[in-house]
Symmetry: C3
Subunit: 132 residues, 3 copies
């Protein structure tokens, strides 16, 4: 299992980790298969989305905040219930196909670590599995 350490610099932010995942993938030596990115936190998530226009990550965060506002009728006593709910909606892992040693992402796709309760030190875990 490979790990990538991160530091999120804001309360809510999407961090493009595509290049760092690609670097780890190359070190795995897998040519054809699947690369898994897992977030071992419960107030953060991971998503594949567009990185060409920074307004796209902005709109994703703003819409999540509209649907699951930070202040709300939550019971969880730590005050960050919204971050848990957002993480549950977006998800804790993504699977990216690997082709010819590269992440099989579309032209506009990037892998984003999603921070919903930062700033914090964080990490993502990777496993790369080979196809036959």
């Amino acid at each position: 299992m490979r790990s990538i350490p991160l530091h999120s610099s804001a309360h809510s932010v999407l961090i493009d980790i595509t290049q760092r995942v690609q670097t780890e993938l190359e070190q795995s030596g897998v040519g054809e298969g699947v690369c898994f990115v897992h977030v071992p936190h419960t107030t953060a998530a991971v998503v594949v989305q567009e990185n060409a226009d920074p307004d796209v990550p902005h709109d994703i965060l703003a819409t999540l905040e509209r649907l699951v506002p930070w202040q709300g009728p939550y019971r969880h006593g730590e005050g960050n219930a919204a971050a848990h709910v957002k993480a549950a909606l977006v998800g804790s892992s993504v699977a990216i196909p690997v082709h010819e040693g590269h992440l099989g992402l579309g032209t506009w796709q990037a892998i984003f670590f999603c921070e919903f309760d930062g700033p914090r030190g964080r990490q993502v875990h990777l496993q790369v599995v080979a196809a036959i």
Copy 2:
């Protein structure tokens, strides 16, 4: 493929299945790889979230009910359209990295079966894939 039978005891409930998945993982003999948990139902889902505070699962269910209320302008004639939509939002599978024979979950992470239209007999399917 391995299966875990479940019985959900309420209409909407999150059931912690981490220990049962870990037991199946150990029987697979895989040390490094990925463990997949798939829900073969369309009104249930699976999510990785915090299990330390039962208010977190409560807040997830309550927020989903606020966003996708049971009663609403749905067409599906069986009366459980909201459960299908919630399942689509949360997702039918999770991928957990496996490291040294254990689920590579974070300190606060657990695997929850998400029942949105219970109580019912249910099951989850597992496949464990080895990394090179």
Copy 3:
């Protein structure tokens, strides 16, 4: 990596691709493992849901449109921010267990390509990984 070309015939539509994925799976020769379906687009997604009643896909699309309306306070200049947000919520990939050479789906489950900004030519990518 295998590819399936698609053409979406409406702005928002769920397209059942189960049979096409099963055909590709059979050509892979894998008997036990996991089949990954990845959408290389940022305004489309993939989900496992019921295909018996076409009202279920309808209710999913209608609820997503209610939660993330096409017209809204978005910044993204191309006018399709809602499609990006919907794709982020539903997800870019699914993992389906493979058992005895078949997709290990439940009785009512199908794999749907989710178009949120069509009509367009699209594709999905597949990788099949064998369990030990």
